[in-house]
C-alpha cells in the first residue's frame, strides 16, 4: 500500500463518520420508508450461548447477541472496507507501524461511565490478550499501546502487519469496561453474567432455555438511535419449530443456522418474507472434506485429487444447500481478500478420478472397491448428514468406500483435535484475510493437537515460506503475489478437499428494515434497524 493511498484511506474514514449513516437514511427515504422509532424485534438464537461476554465466549450465537451490547473500534462493509464505529477516524503511519485511533468523545457504557482510551487499551492489551486465543495471536505483535489523551489510542507494532485493522471488529475485539474487570479473573468477574458494553442495546433479562431480552440504551452515542425498543432472542432448539415460528409470525427473523437449507425454498415462496444470503463476507466460512494425511492412502496427493474430482460441487450447492453459498474454487473464499480467481481446483470428472486412483496403485477388488475410508459425520444438523450420504454415494462411483461414523459435537471436536479420524467435514471462518483465517490450516508450524489448527498434518516448506512472506509483507501488493502463488500450489496439492463457500440465510419479515448492511450481517449493532408499521 502506498503512502498516499494510506493517507487517503484515513481521510475517507474520517469523512465516512457521517457517510454510512446518511446513506442509509437516504436509501430508506428513496424507498419511501422513514425510520420509525419503537417496536420489538423478536428473533431466534440457537444454540443458546453459555454467557454473553465476547472474549470469554466466542461462539457464533454469543457474537450475534452480544454484538448488540458491545462495539468494536471499527466495523466492516460487505467489501471489507473499515468503517468508523467507536473510533471516529484513524491514521496509519507511513512505515505501517503506528496506528492512531481517534475515539468518539460521547460514548458511555451502559452503567453510565464514559468510555475512554483506558478502556480501549485495557480491552486490547489485557482482556482479549488473556481470554481470546485468536486475539492473543495477533495482539502479541503490538509493541506499545499508549493514550496521549483520553480520546486517542496509539498502537505501535513490532513489525508491519497489513490485516491489523480487521482485528478491531466487535466480533474480534469488543471494547469492555476496564473498571468492571481490572484486577479480577476476567472469566469469573460478575460483569460476565451482566455484560456492560457501549452498544445500542443493553442486557435486560435472560431466562435460560427460554429467551434473552435486550433493551434500548437511552444514552447511546448516536442521537435518536437505536430505533427499536427491544430485541428478544427466543431459544428454540428444534429446527422445524423454528421454521414454524417464522411462518406463523411468532418471530420476525431467523439467522445463521436457524433454518435448514432445505427449508429455505418454501420460505422464499412466502410473500411476507425476505431471504438474504449476504452478510457473511467478513467471516466467509469455507467448508471442506477434512483429510488426515497420516492415514494411508490420504497422504498421497493423487488420492486427494481423485476424491476432489469425484464430487460434483454444483450438485452440493444446488441440491443440498439450495444455492445458499456457492461451490469453492480454491482455499481462499472469493469474498475474502487476496482470493485469486485464476487458481482453480480441477473440475468434476469421475473418469479422471479413477485414472488418478489407478496411478496411485489403488486397484479395484472383486466388489469394485479400491479403498475403504472412514468418515466422521459432522454433527451440526440434518444437512451435514445428507452431505455425508452424498459423498458416500459419489465416492463409491470411483471405487472408494466411505464408512460413515456418527458422533456428537463434543466427540467430534475432541477427535479432530486429537487427530483420531480419517476424513470428516470441517469449516472455518476466514476473517477477511488469508493470514487471519486460511494460513492456520496449511502451515506446518500450526500442526497441533487442537481443533481448527493444521489437524490434517499437511506440510510443504514452500507453502510455509509463502504464508510467512504474505503475513509479513508490508504492502498489499507484496502480499498478493505470495498469496497467489500459495493458492496455485494448494489447488494442485489439495491438502483439504474444499467444497463450498458457505453462507447462511437471514430470513426476515419484510417489515424489518436494514437487517443486513455490513460484512458481518446479523452480528452488527442494529442501531439502524427499524420496523415499518
Amino acid at each position: 500500500m502506498s503512502i498516499s493511498r494510506r493517507g487517503l484511506m484515513a481521510a475517507t474514514a474520517a469523512a465516512a463518520g457521517m457517510g454510512p449513516t446518511l446513506m442509509r437514511v437516504e436509501d430508506a427515504l428513496a424507498q419511501g420508508i422513514q425510520p420509525r422509532r419503537g417496536g420489538t424485534l423478536t428473533t431466534i438464537l440457537q444454540p443458546e450461548p453459555p454467557v454473553l461476554q465476547i472474549g470469554v465466549n466466542n461462539q457464533g450465537p454469543t457474537l450475534i447477541a452480544a454484538g448488540k451490547i458491545f462495539q468494536g473500534l471499527v466495523k466492516f462493509s460487505p467489501t471489507l472496507e473499515p468503517l468508523p464505529e467507536l473510533a471516529e477516524s484513524w491514521t496509519i503511519s507511513p512505515d505501517a507501524l503506528t496506528y492512531t485511533f481517534k475515539l468518539r468523545n460521547n460514548v458511555k457504557f451502559h452503567d453510565g461511565t464514559p468510555m475512554t482510551a483506558d478502556d480501549v487499551i485495557f480491552s486490547i492489551m489485557k482482556f482479549h490478550m488473556e481470554v481470546a486465543p485468536r486475539a492473543r495471536a495477533i495482539f502479541q505483535r503490538i509493541d506499545k499501546a499508549e493514550a496521549p489523551d483520553p480520546h486517542t489510542v496509539v498502537l505501535t507494532l513490532k513489525a508491519p502487519f497489513e490485516p491489523f485493522l480487521l482485528m478491531f471488529d466487535v466480533t474480534a475485539c469488543a471494547i469492555v469496561p476496564k473498571h468492571l474487570f481490572d484486577g479480577q479473573d476476567y472469566r469469573t468477574a460478575p460483569a460476565v453474567q451482566r455484560p456492560i458494553g457501549t452498544g445500542p442495546f443493553r442486557f435486560a433479562e435472560w431466562q435460560r432455555g427460554n429467551f434473552i431480552r435486550l433493551e434500548r440504551f437511552a444514552d447511546y452515542w448516536k442521537p435518536g438511535q437505536p430505533y427499536l425498543d427491544a430485541i428478544i432472542y427466543r431459544i428454540v432448539p428444534d429446527s422445524q419449530s423454528r421454521r414454524l415460528a417464522l411462518e406463523t409470525g411468532q418471530v420476525l427473523m431467523t439467522a445463521a443456522g436457524d433454518i435448514e437449507p432445505f427449508d429455505t425454498p418454501a420460505l422464499r415462496a412466502r410473500p411476507n418474507l425476505e431471504v438474504l444470503t449476504t452478510g457473511w463476507e467478513y467471516f466467509s466460512p469455507l467448508s471442506w472434506i477434512e483429510t488426515n494425511h497420516r492415514v494411508a492412502p490420504l497422504g498421497d496427493v493423487r488420492v486427494r485429487q481423485a476424491i476432489s474430482r469425484a464430487i460434483d460441487r454444483n450438485f452440493i450447492a444446488q441440491r443440498l444447500w439450495f444455492n445458499i453459498g456457492k461451490p469453492a474454487t480454491n482455499p481462499v473464499a472469493s469474498t475474502t481478500k487476496f482470493h485469486d480467481p485464476s487458481a482453480r481446483i480441477a473440475g468434476f470428472d469421475p473418469r479422471a478420478a479413477m485414472q488418478l486412483l489407478d496411478a496411485a496403485g489403488l486397484r479395484p477388488n472383486a466388489q469394485g472397491v479400491r479403498a475403504t475410508i472412514k468418515h466422521l459425520v459432522l454433527p451440526y444438523g440434518e444437512v451435514w448428514t445428507r452431505l455425508a450420504e452424498y459423498l458416500r454415494q459419489s465416492l463409491r462411483q470411483v471405487g472408494i468406500q466411505l464408512e460413515l461414523e456418527s458422533t456428537d459435537a463434543g466427540s467430534w471436536a475432541r477427535r479432530i483435535g486429537a487427530w483420531e479420524y480419517e476424513t470428516s467435514i470441517n469449516f472455518v471462518y476466514q476473517f477477511g484475510d488469508p493470514t487471519l483465517g486460511v494460513e492456520r490450516t496449511y502451515v506446518s508450524s500450526n500442526i497441533q493437537r487442537v481443533t481448527f489448527t493444521n489437524t490434517g498434518g499437511y506440510s510443504n516448506p514452500r507453502v510455509d515460506q509463502l504464508f510467512a512472506a504474505a503475513r509479513d509483507g508490508q504492502t498489499a501488493e507484496q502480499r498478493r503475489v505470495a498469496f497467489s502463488e500459495v493458492q496455485k500450489i494448494l489447488v494442485e496439492e489439495v491438502p483439504q478437499i474444499w467444497l463450498m463457500e458457505m453462507a447462511f440465510p437471514t430470513i426476515h419479515d419484510k417489515r424489518v428494515q436494514n437487517a443486513v448492511r455490513l460484512g458481518t450481517g446479523v452480528h452488527a449493532s442494529y442501531d439502524d434497524v427499524f420496523l415499518t408499521a
Binding site: 486465543p133 435460560r208 429467551f211 414454524l244 456428537d408 475432541r414 497441533q448 481443533t451
Partner: protein, 327 residues
C-alpha cells in the same frame, strides 16, 4: 396398615434410599467421564479458534486437570452437603440452574400426569362398564392409537392443526415474552402455551392408564366378591367404585409410580419440540456440551425423585389395599 410400624419403615427405607442415590451418583460420575471429549474441547470446537494455552486455561478453571479420583471425591463431598457444584461453562451454581428450570418441567409433567391419570382411569372405567359396545370400541381404538404413535409425531400434528391451521394456540415457548402480563392474564397465557405440550406428553400415558384400567377392571369384575356384592343388593355405582375400581387400581398405581419418577427427566423430546424451558433440555444440552456438573446435578435430582416416588407408591398400596402391609 399398622400406624405404629410406619416410622421404623420410613427410617429403614430412607437409609436404603440414601445408599442407592449415592451409588447412582458414583456410577453417573464414571459414566459421564467415560464419554469422549471434555468441556474444554467442546468450547474450543464451538469458538472456531483455540490454542494449547486456551485449552489448558479452561481445564484448570473447570478442575479437569486434577486426577479423576480427586474430582470424584470433591463431587461426592459436595453432594453430601447438598452442594451440587458450579457450572464453569455457564458461570452459575448448578443448583440455581436446576431450580430455574425445575418449575417449568414440573408444570408441564404435572399437567400431563394429572391429565393422563384422570382421563385414562375415566375412559378405562367407561370402557370396562360398556364392554363390547361402540363406546368401548372407540375408547380401545383411541387408546391403542396413542399408545402406538411416536410422541414427536403427535406433537407435530397438534402444532400443525392448532397453531398453523386454526391459529388458536402458540407453537412454542412457555409465555408471551415482553407482553408484561400479570395475574389472571399471565395464567391464561401460560395455560395456552401449556396445552399442546402437556397433551402431547400426556396422551401416551393416558392410553396406558385407559388400557390398564379396562383390563384389570374386567378381570376383577368376574371375581366372587363382586358377585356377592351385587347379590346382596349393593347399588351398581357403589360396586364399581368401592369393589371393582379400588381393587383394579393397584397396577395403575404401580405404573403411575414409574411415570411420576420420570416427571423430571422424561420430557426431553417434548421440551425440545415445543421449546419449553425445562430441565430435560438442560440435561440434554449439558450432555452435548460435556457440562459435567450440570448433567450430574440433573441425574442426582432425577434419581432422588425416582426413589421418593417408589417409596410413595409403596405407601399408597397400603392405603388403597389394606391387605398390603408396609415392611
Amino acid at each position: 396398615m399398622d400406624p405404629a410400624k410406619l416410622p421404623g419403615f420410613l427410617a429403614q427405607r430412607l437409609v436404603k434410599a440414601a445408599i442407592v442415590v449415592l451409588a447412582i451418583v458414583v456410577c453417573n460420575f464414571f459414566l459421564i467421564h467415560a464419554a469422549p471429549g471434555d468441556p474444554a474441547s467442546v468450547i474450543a470446537g464451538q469458538s472456531g479458534a483455540a490454542d494449547e494455552r486456551f485449552l489448558q486455561q479452561l481445564r484448570t478453571q473447570f478442575g479437569l486437570d486434577q486426577p479423576l479420583h480427586v474430582q470424584l471425591w470433591i463431587y461426592v463431598k459436595g453432594v453430601l452437603t447438598l452442594d451440587l457444584g458450579f457450572s464453569h461453562r455457564q458461570q452459575m451454581p448448578v443448583s440455581t440452574l436446576i431450580m430455574d428450570r425445575l418449575p417449568a418441567t414440573l408444570l408441564l409433567t404435572g399437567a400431563a400426569f394429572a391429565f393422563a391419570i384422570t382421563l385414562g382411569i375415566t375412559l378405562g372405567t367407561l370402557a370396562a362398564r360398556r364392554v363390547g359396545t361402540w363406546a368401548d370400541s372407540v375408547i380401545t381404538v383411541l387408546a391403542l392409537t396413542f399408545y402406538a404413535t411416536p410422541l414427536f409425531w403427535v406433537g407435530l400434528m397438534l402444532v400443525l392443526f392448532f397453531s398453523v391451521w386454526l391459529e388458536w394456540l402458540p407453537s412454542f415457548g412457555m409465555m408471551s415474552v415482553g407482553a408484561n402480563l400479570a395475574g389472571l392474564a399471565l395464567v391464561l397465557d401460560v395455560a395456552k402455551h401449556l396445552l399442546l405440550p402437556a397433551l402431547t406428553l400426556g396422551l401416551f400415558y393416558m392410553a396406558v392408564y385407559a388400557r390398564l384400567t379396562r383390563a384389570t377392571m374386567l378381570e376383577v369384575a368376574d371375581q366372587d366378591f363382586v358377585k356377592t356384592a351385587r347379590a346382596k343388593g349393593v347399588p351398581e355405582g357403589q360396586v364399581v367404585r368401592r369393589h371393582v375400581l379400588r381393587n383394579a387400581l393397584l397396577p395403575v398405581i404401580t405404573f403411575a409410580g414409574i411415570q411420576a419418577g420420570q416427571l423430571i427427566g422424561g420430557s426431553i423430546l417434548v421440551e425440545t419440540v415445543f421449546a419449553w424451558p425445562g430441565i430435560g433440555r438442560l440435561a440434554f444440552e449439558a450432555l452435548l456440551a460435556r457440562d459435567y456438573p450440570v448433567l450430574m446435578g440433573v441425574f442426582f435430582a432425577t434419581s432422588v425423585m425416582v426413589v421418593l416416588f417408589n417409596l410413595l407408591t409403596d405407601l399408597l398400596y397400603a392405603v388403597v389395599d389394606p391387605r398390603v402391609e408396609v415392611a
